[in-house]
């Protein structure tokens, strides 16, 4: 194992976060605070409780997931896309480093940033609404699993993209709508039966549901299903990345 290389990539990526602190950390925190103002205060004043939890408190897990999902994808996709764009990828490809180590460096850094961000948003939320986490270990497990899975997904997008437009396309046109429709701001039980069935096709529903369960023990779907769905998506991403490196897709060809 080339520990020095993993460390070099990881620290390089983390250094980029500190260099772009405003964009990486402050911006998502401000956005989340605005969600609290709009959804928590304005709409929340009309919806008093959801399944026994105040609306402002109810949306906290969904808001954290929203940021973690989008930031994991953004960080990881940009992290690998930018060296491709600038040409510095030559150094990664010519280094004595395995595919696994490359992924560990890039995805590890992207996931770390998202987890830090998730925890900062959690702390920010604590300023707006009272919070109580029923299962902190499960909460962290879901947070880490989601950050890693979507960082892997972002890594795939970064490899696939051959322009900034494509880099933005999947997060904007697919991930953000799925997150908004995945129960970030409501329980899917609030939907009519037909739409509830449709919503179950959305993988983000399972992530948010499981994450919310770890906070309040309320869930749209069984928590074991949530775990299985997360692991399944993780496995799909891992297999895809294995295939990318094995074939050299958009890297070595």
């Amino acid at each position: 194992m080339n520990h020095h290389a993993i460390r070099a990539i990881y620290l390089f990526e983390m250094a980029r976060t500190w260099r772009t602190l405003l964009q990486s950390i402050v911006s998502p925190v401000v956005s989340t605070s605005l969600y609290f103002v709009v959804f928590g205060a304005a709409i929340g004043s009309r919806i008093t409780e959801v399944e026994g939890v105040s609306y402002g408190t109810f949306i906290v897990p969904g808001l954290i997931m929203l940021s973690v999902l989008t930031q994991s994808i953004a960080n990881a996709s940009f992290g690998i896309y930018f060296p491709k764009f600038s040409g510095t990828i030559y150094e990664i490809l010519s280094a004595p480093i395995s595919y696994f180590e490359i992924v560990l460096g890039y995805v590890g850094a992207a996931a770390t940033k998202s987890i830090i961000l998730g925890l900062i948003i959690l702390a920010t939320a604590g300023l707006f609404v009272p919070l109580h986490i029923q299962h902190p270990i499960w909460m962290l497990t879901f947070l880490v699993l989601t950050a890693v899975t979507f960082s892997l997904f972002g890594f795939i997008i970064g490899i696939w993209a051959d322009g900034f437009e494509k880099l933005q396309m999947i997060p904007m046109l697919v991930v953000t709508p799925l997150t908004f429709l995945g129960g970030s701001f409501y329980s899917i039980d609030m939907l009519p039966p037909t739409w509830r069935t449709v919503a179950l096709l959305n993988p983000v529903v399972y992530l948010i549901s499981g994450f919310r369960w770890s906070f309040y023990e309320i869930a749209d779907v069984n928590v074991s299903v949530s775990i299985c769905m997360t692991l399944a998506f993780l496995a799909i991403c891992m297999v895809t990345i294995w295939w990318i490196f094995r074939t050299g897709y958009r890297l070595r060809n």
């Binding site: 080339n2 020095h4 290389a5 460390r7 070099a8 990539i9 390089f12 250094a15 260099r19 600038s86 040409g87 510095t88 030559y90 150094e91 990664i92 490809l93 010519s94 280094a95 004595p96 480093i97 395995s98 050299g248 070595r252 060809n253």
Partner: protein, 307 residues
């Protein structure tokens, strides 16, 4: 001298069907400076990219320090430093950070003393805290070399190292390259500047249309393929040459004021003695003469044209 790089039957075809390399065989000797010459699109960068692990070959095998670049890629790649043609750098990183990053990437523990030496050798020490975006093109090129040298490689690939670099800096780079060779580093350089190859290289390889056209010791190559030119400055201008001189394939230049004769230095007879005799017989006199040796550039152009 043993081979440090051995390329056997290497081919590379792209998805479009374009064959960038066709059955390339090449051995690079340990400690030499090898210049790979070729016109644009000849396959130079593709060959380097495959040896360095950036591109996958379609067929063939490459050994670097007796290690297969695919099955034993860690050992093989750790021996190589690459300075690519384009100035690919992290614009917002400092010189120190980016060079240290390269060392880590190649699996070496931190060694500030080595990084300091490399930066000083390349006259970058006073710029170590500068962001790369603030550096000139020549300095960025040196940063690329510093990155390649950060992990103490045994082999250094310089892909067009002095492209777009002014003459003074180019000569400075040549000194750096010579210094590296003296420290035991094997250097493979591609260049468009033939004078660079002529000045630096121990051996020359010419690649054209994905095929190695020739590999030869530079001195031998110059002797073998080099031609000499005899220029006679005539006393009186001549408008045409007599039939008796037609077999010399002479060329009248400067409006008939000079007569040019190309001859092969390796030939049994140069023909100079008989030419001078025949000129006297024909009544053509000259008041001065000089000879010039063809350059590597002339040889290269001939080779590429005929291959």
């Amino acid at each position: 001298m043993s081979s440090i790089i051995s390329v056997a039957n290497l081919s590379k075809a792209y998805g479009s069907g374009f064959k960038a390399l066709k059955n390339v065989n090449l051995d690079i000797k340990r400690g030499e400076i090898f210049a790979l010459l070729g016109p644009n699109g000849a396959g130079k960068t593709t060959l380097i990219s495959i040896i360095c692990g950036i591109a996958n070959p379609t067929e063939g095998r490459v050994l670097v320090g007796d290690e297969d670049i695919q099955t034993s890629y860690r050992k093989a790649r750790s021996l190589i430093g690459l300075v690519p043609q384009e100035l690919h750098t992290d614009a917002f990183e400092s010189v120190w950070a980016t060079v240290s990053f390269s060392r880590g990437l190649f699996g070496k523990p931190k060694n500030p003393a080595h990084i300091e030496k490399v930066l000083k050798d390349l006259s970058l020490w006073d710029k170590k805290d500068n962001k790369i975006i603030t550096l000139s093109g020549g300095m960025k090129r040196r940063v690329m070399i510093a990155k390649a040298l950060s992990h103490e490689p045994q082999i250094l690939f310089l892909d067009e190292p002095t492209a777009g670099v002014d003459v003074e800096l180019r000569k400075g780079m040549w000194e750096v390259v010579r210094g590296l060779q003296q420290s035991g580093v094997t250097i493979i350089l591609t260049t468009h500047y033939i004078e660079e190859a002529e000045e630096m290289a121990d051996r020359i390889g010419v690649i054209n249309k994905g095929e190695i056209v020739l590999v030869e010791d530079k001195t031998t190559l110059m002797q073998k393929l080099g031609k000499k030119r005899l220029t006679l400055h005539l006393q009186n201008k001549v408008t045409s040459l007599p039939e008796s001189l037609s077999h010399y394939e002479l060329e009248l230049c400067d409006g008939g004021a000079t007569l040019v004769y190309d001859y092969d230095t390796q030939g049994e007879r140069t023909g100079i003695t008989s030419l001078l005799g025949d000129l006297r017989t024909a009544g053509i006199r000259f008041n001065d003469l000089d000879t010039t040796q063809s350059s590597l550039e002339d040889i290269f152009v001939d080779l590429v044209r005929t291959s």
